[in-house]
């Protein structure tokens, strides 16, 4: 029943896509500046039907309708309602439906909200977006249909992987999808702009909001994923340079570069081709990431049960996208005149882009190299975190430095009087850094530099905020918040990296372990029953030897029944100045429990800074509305 409804709705979406492309290309030849009413209607119907199809699937999950094989494979009757719903996008087929949803919704919104722009440009954008919708809907129907039915209907489902049953991970995919699939709209818009010759400033204005929306969601999505990894994966880190994390970072670099160069295009009407390249590559990289994750080529935490035919389809589609965008780009390419002043703001915004491209290349090479080597020579290798740290971390120094000073430049030339101010702030940075290293312990030369530039950026941002308070208009506010967030992020990651303590050992129940500052008493274990799992809860008493503060930590070993899986839940005591992090595991029912104990300074500030970067982005979106 649900299966037929769902498939019917998707087919309707497909038909509407064809119709939209057809009527839009007819309307292209019509004179006038307004788009036919019919096209709006088609697009609105299309949006309604996709959203309905998604709700159909959600209903299937809520009612545990196991006649849908997708529900059968990924859900279970005893699962809490929240995770039943989250299960909808917690698997390949369902998430692809979400993907199509976002493509369609963005297509409609772009059509409606950009009514002031050129008709031809809007129609072409609609056509390209609908080609994307067609491609992914066919993929959905033919290869990964979430509405496939099974007969006879099973009585019970297989259940969702317990490690995914977590609030952060329930919202992580939708956030990332809005971010990654949202890029599709300016991929289409860039193609349309090339074909309809709608270039320069106006093009920048038409895509600006969409770039910011998708940037905010991408950043937020990555942050939430990182938070999840911190408390769920149990090794106490938050960034691992795991291939899949890298796959999410690639479009992020591209989009961050895009967001900055878009300012130049809007204000100075130059850099058009570069902006188009970034628009195209952001979405291409998003799809590449999806391809790497879904095809099972990458071996990582995100491995969906993989199926080679999926990979081949996405790869085909991806090459088609790259190929056609290259052709359109080069046939429609027009020479631009650049008249840059070397010391002006646009040169340095370009510098941001150079850094972003370099980071992007580094991560791309580090992620793809093992795959190439495997295909060519069948030697198995992997590229570890040291590679990324060695290449990227030193460049963070000039990057953060530029981030602090570039916004101080006027659009054309640097004034000399702010030079002394900068010098003064750097001096402050050096002094604060000396204090840190004096009181908390020494660290490498590079770390010194990183702390100095981070403090410099933070101070600079605070000064900017102080200046803003007296002003009425606050166009710079979002930039300052985001840059301050980034400065704090670099600073706290630095501190966290330098002063984290980690101890690994094994304990029997009742034993005591003394570490550097803490005495850890393993007082006992007890069993706790929950709705869909049983947990062995450890009771640890921690005594801080410096101030005799006593704390209790209770890590768990959970035994889920459907599917039968073990998970280890970390016990985390978060304070403003540091996190205590303790995980335990047990092998082969041994008397010894394996303990990992960590003291991580300023952990919560890393999340706060990352969220601040996102808040900066959202501030700009709301400010924009007020100004209009």
């Amino acid at each position: 029943m649900l299966s037929n409804i769902g498939i019917g709705l998707i087919v309707l979406v497909l038909i509407l896509s064809f119709l939209t492309i057809y009527t839009a290309s007819l309307d292209l030849k019509m004179p006038g500046q307004s788009i036919k009413k019919g096209i709006y209607k088609l697009s609105l119907f299309q949006t309604t039907f996709t959203v309905l199809s998604f709700f159909t699937l959600i209903i299937g999950f809520i009612n545990s309708d196991f006649s849908l094989s997708n529900v059968y494979e990924n859900s279970h009757t005893t699962k809490p309602l929240f995770y039943k719903i989250a299960g909808t996008w917690g698997n390949h087929e369902g998430s692809l439906l979400l993907w199509v949803n976002i493509l369609v919704i963005f297509s409609y919104l772009f059509l409606v909200f950009n009514h002031t722009h050129n008709k031809k440009f809007r129609l072409y954008t609609l056509i390209f977006q609908n080609i994307l919708i067609l491609g992914f809907s066919f993929f959905l129907l033919l290869n990964s249909n979430p509405f496939n039915s099974i007969y006879p209907i099973p009585l019970e489902g297989l259940g969702l992987n317990p490690i995914l049953q977590d609030p952060a991970l329930a919202i992580h995919p939708p956030l990332l999808y809005v971010g990654f699939v949202g890029c599709s709209i300016y991929f289409s818009a860039a193609m349309a702009s090339l074909i309809s010759d709608y270039r320069g400033k106006l093009f920048a204005q038409s895509i600006k909001t969409w770039v910011k929306i998708s940037w905010c969601f991408q950043t937020l999505g990555i942050t939430v994923g990182s938070i999840w990894a911190y408390y769920e994966l149990g090794w106490g880190g938050f960034w691992f340079w795991d291939p899949v994390e890298n796959a999410s970072l690639l479009p992020w670099f591209a989009i961050t570069a895009l967001m900055h160069s878009l300012i130049v295009l809007e204000k100075r009407n130059t850099l058009y081709s570069w902006v188009v390249i970034l628009c195209l590559s952001t979405f291409i990289l998003s799809v590449t990431g999806t391809f790497l994750v879904r095809s099972g080529i990458l071996n990582s935490v995100h491995t969906f049960a993989s199926d080679p035919s999926r990979g081949i389809y996405i790869l085909l589609f991806l090459s088609l996208m790259i190929f056609s965008s290259l052709i359109i780009f080069f046939t429609k390419y027009k020479k631009e005149t650049y008249n840059f002043n070397l010391k002006s703001r646009e040169t340095f915004i370009l510098a941001n882009n150079w850094f972003m491209v370099f980071f992007l290349l580094t991560v791309l090479i580090g992620t793809l190299y093992p795959i190439f080597l495997d295909v060519i020579t069948s030697v198995k290798i992997s590229v570890g975190p040291p590679f990324f740290n060695i290449v990227i971390v030193p460049l963070v120094v000039p990057f953060v430095f530029l981030m602090a000073i570039v916004p101080k430049f006027s659009w054309i030339k640097l004034q000399n009087k702010i030079f002394y101010k900068i010098l003064f702030l750097i001096l402050c940075g050096v002094i604060i850094n000396l204090f840190i290293s004096h009181f908390f312990g020494k660290y490498s030369f590079l770390s010194n530099l990183i702390f100095i530039v981070a403090i410099f950026l933070i101070l600079q941002s605070f000064l900017d905020i102080k200046k803003l308070i007296n002003k009425k208009k606050k166009p710079e506010l979002s930039r300052i918040i985001s840059h301050l967030g980034f400065g704090l992020l670099v600073f706290f990651i630095g501190i966290n990296h330098q002063f984290s303590l980690e101890e690994d050992f094994n304990l029997k129940v009742g034993e005591i372990k003394k570490t550097k500052n803490y005495e850890i008493n393993f007082e006992g274990i007890k069993i706790r029953e929950s709705k869909n799992y049983k947990a062995i809860v450890g009771n640890f008493k921690l005594i801080n030897e410096k101030n005799d503060l006593v704390q209790y930590l209770n890590p768990e070993i959970r035994i889920y029944s459907n599917p039968e899986t073990l998970t280890y839940e970390a016990a985390i005591k978060t304070k403003i100045t540091s996190d205590l992090y303790l995980t335990m595991s047990n092998v082969s029912r041994s008397d010894y429990y394996n303990i990992k104990f960590q003291n991580k300074p300023f952990m919560i500030w890393i999340w706060i800074s990352a969220l601040m970067i996102v808040i900066g982005g959202f501030t700009q979106l709301t400010l924009k509305k007020n100004e209009d």
């Binding site: 491995t303 992997s382 590229v383 050992f505 094994n506 599917p563 073990l566 335990m584 595991s585």
Partner: protein, 142 residues
Amino acid sequence: MLTKKVKNRIYFLFFIFLLSVIGIFLILTSLNKNILYFSSPTEIKQKEDIQLGKAMRVGGMVKRNSITINEKNIQFIVTDFENEILITYSGTVPNLFAEEKGVVVEGKLSDKNFFIAERILAKHDENYMPPEIKKIMEKNAK
């Protein structure tokens, strides 16, 4: 003669070219230093020129009844059904770590039979087998 504008452009392009070459060169050299090779216990035995003390990955099955635990670390044997290697590790193990299950460990060889692991790689799906291990197992099973 070249005008000033053209000259500037040439300098600019040259500068960018130089920067990219240096960039790519730096990326590739540090890539080379930080590659982790993946080997099976048999490959470690057979290879003559294997570097001790260099980070690498070893994969195979955790041998039955081979896990021993004391207060400091965990020891277990990884086998590919032809050769074995003894692994020492301290810390918590991933949730799917168990006897007779596939495992990939990352760390350093201290000699050809003894490996000090810094990390045991987490696998999120009990039905999932890393492609590297699958290959070895298929080759050696019969």
